[in-house]
């Protein structure tokens, strides 16, 4: 255990090799115990395998072929092209521009989402019940709004001719924004899209972290506060170690989602995003469906997976480390 952990040692007991029965230790029980975890993960594993494993293999195979609509539809054998799809994509300057755009947008969105989400969840612990209920209701209502609808509403807000945003800027802040098109400059456009994304992701983050915060033993926080630890100290030594696994998981998911972002941009640009709004999700979709090369789409997906696995490996190491260092 790390030095930072002691105050919550009670709550953070290492995962154990629980296959040993506490008492006795007859051979039979041990054998059954050794099988138990496999039985437990079997249903989940089978479900995942049934739905995703073959498609994943298929995607990998496809990325080394040249599959267009004709091959897909008629079952004609697609020619094998080796690494051509990958070299084409990696050698394409547009692809790297898209990757950069995606990374920057993702980082900005994740930082904003996690920061605001954590702030709200901690706030929820400290406010009166009625305020918390109001806020939770708003969060869930926002969360349950279908993407199409949420994006339409933000699109109206930002519309150049009849948007509330321009109206407020012009009428109340004295900036002449009438007719200003927020999407001409992709920087401004991404600001609006970022708002949709962050607004849409906050409920999940806040509600999940709030659930995690309920696990923090109240006495320890109070004891630490009485012992003279400041707000930051209490958070760092008491709160953070408990919510860390959930926080990391939520952050990782945000990274994955924001990296694969598709719907918000696609819908807010009226189903035809301009090239300067192309992020990886849109790029691979366009390659697959619109330029009739499912193989290129597949190759881009795999490259995306490889890029993301950097994040994934970090997370996995963290995940495996927790509780295993005895």
């Amino acid at each position: 255990m790390k030095a930072a952990d002691p105050p919550v040692a009670v709550a953070r007991v290492p995962e154990r090799s629980g296959s040993q029965p506490p008492a006795g230790g007859q051979r039979k029980r041990r054998k059954a115990g050794a099988l138990l975890p496999y039985l437990l993960i079997a249903p989940a594993f089978v479900a995942i395998a049934a739905v995703f494993v073959w498609p994943l293999i298929k995607t990998i195979l496809m990325s080394f072929q040249d599959v267009g609509r004709r091959e897909l539809w008629t079952g004609e054998a697609a020619p094998w092209v080796g690494f051509e799809q990958f070299t084409n994509i990696l050698g394409d300057g547009e692809f790297w521009a898209v990757v950069w755009r995606t990374v920057i947008f993702m980082v900005a969105c994740v930082v904003a989402t996690m920061g605001i989400g954590l702030g709200i969840s901690m706030l929820m612990q400290r406010m009166d019940t009625w305020v918390r209920l109001l806020l939770t209701a708003a969060l869930v209502a926002a969360w349950s709004m279908p993407l199409l609808v949420a994006t339409s509403i933000f699109r109206w807000f930002a519309d150049s001719d009849y948007g509330v945003l321009n109206m407020v800027l012009t009428k109340y802040l004295g900036i002449d924004a009438q007719g200003h098109n927020w999407f001409l400059d992709p920087k401004q456009g991404f600001l609006i899209i970022g708002a949709v994304v962050v607004w849409g992701a906050i409920p999940f983050v806040a509600v999940t972290l709030y659930a995690a915060l309920t696990q923090v033993p109240r006495e320890l926080e109070e004891a630490a506060a009485l012992d003279g630890a400041g707000v930051a100290g209490v958070f760092r030594y008491v709160t953070w170690p408990v919510i860390k696994p959930v926080f990391q998981m939520v952050a990782t998911l945000s990274v994955l989602w924001d990296f694969n972002i598709f719907g918000q941009i696609f819908l807010i640009r009226g189903n035809k995003p301009e090239p300067e709004y192309s992020v990886l999700g849109i790029y691979s979709f366009e390659k697959a469906f619109e330029s009739n090369s499912f193989s290129q789409g597949a190759a881009i997906s795999l490259i995306t997976v490889l890029l993301l696995s950097g994040v994934a490996v970090y997370y996995l190491r963290q995940l495996l480390k927790i509780g295993e260092v005895e």
């Binding site: 739905v51 349950s144 709004m145 509600v207 696990q215 694969n260 598709f262 996995l316």
Partner: protein, 301 residues
Amino acid sequence: MSASTSQALRPDTERGTGPATPQVLRQDRKKNRLVYNIVGLAVFVLMAFPVYWLIISALRPNHEIRSYDQTLWPSSLTLDNFQRAIDQPNFGTAIQSSLIVCGVAVIGGMLLATIAAFAIGRFRFRGRKFFMIVLLVVQLLPPTAMLIPIYIQLNDLGGLNEYWGVIVIYLVSTLPFATWMIRGFIVNIPPELEESAMVDGCSRMGAFWRVTFPLLAPGLAAAAIFSLITAWNEYLLAYVVLQDNDKYTLNVWLMNFTTSRGIDYGALMAASTLIAIPVVAFFLLVQKYMATGLTSGAVKG
């Protein structure tokens, strides 16, 4: 929400601020509480504004929705939009489809996730890391780009135009998150609790279901809400896999308001308001469990 559950969350219930706490601290807290409440209300307004706009748009005469003079309150309220939404063909079957698909996917997903989380949270076994990597990889795959391979897989399994085809996909795509989420909670519950139950004669699983499972409520609730909303709002896969119009789920049905002749925004907003009701209701149902997490008593054993 019951009084006891809300109290468990308050930092200054009698548990914390006993008679020994100095008076100064208490007044300080009151002031802080006020600040927190005000900030909380501000956040509420920001988060709720688009929701407010949704509802108010649903109640506005259709041509005012994108009027050039935006007002916070409509000039007149009308239920026409709701009427058109309800009159849209297949509304009833869509409700039924969504309930079946999402209900089975969420319940099944929670069950599978809980036992899998128990396995990776409590046991060390060969293949455990591999399983966790599998869970992770599933999340990495870009959903739109995987559409065709997944479709072909369902075709081979015979799941096209069947509820179970969609259910399985929803279940599997929310499973990794749910497993991790629940595992995160299991890790924070001392295994000693289960062990003492086993000493009392419970089997390993019996001890888990009786002792640990009830303590997982907040994690389960959060994971269930996540799974429900993900499944409830999914559109593209359901649209592509389900072919009969009377099997469409609500979100697919919602797209009926977008035609080549424009979008009926009023009906769309009204329909989405209606569609959100079950989700919000479900949340209200489970949210009290989210607050009954690990109480200090349980931790002390």
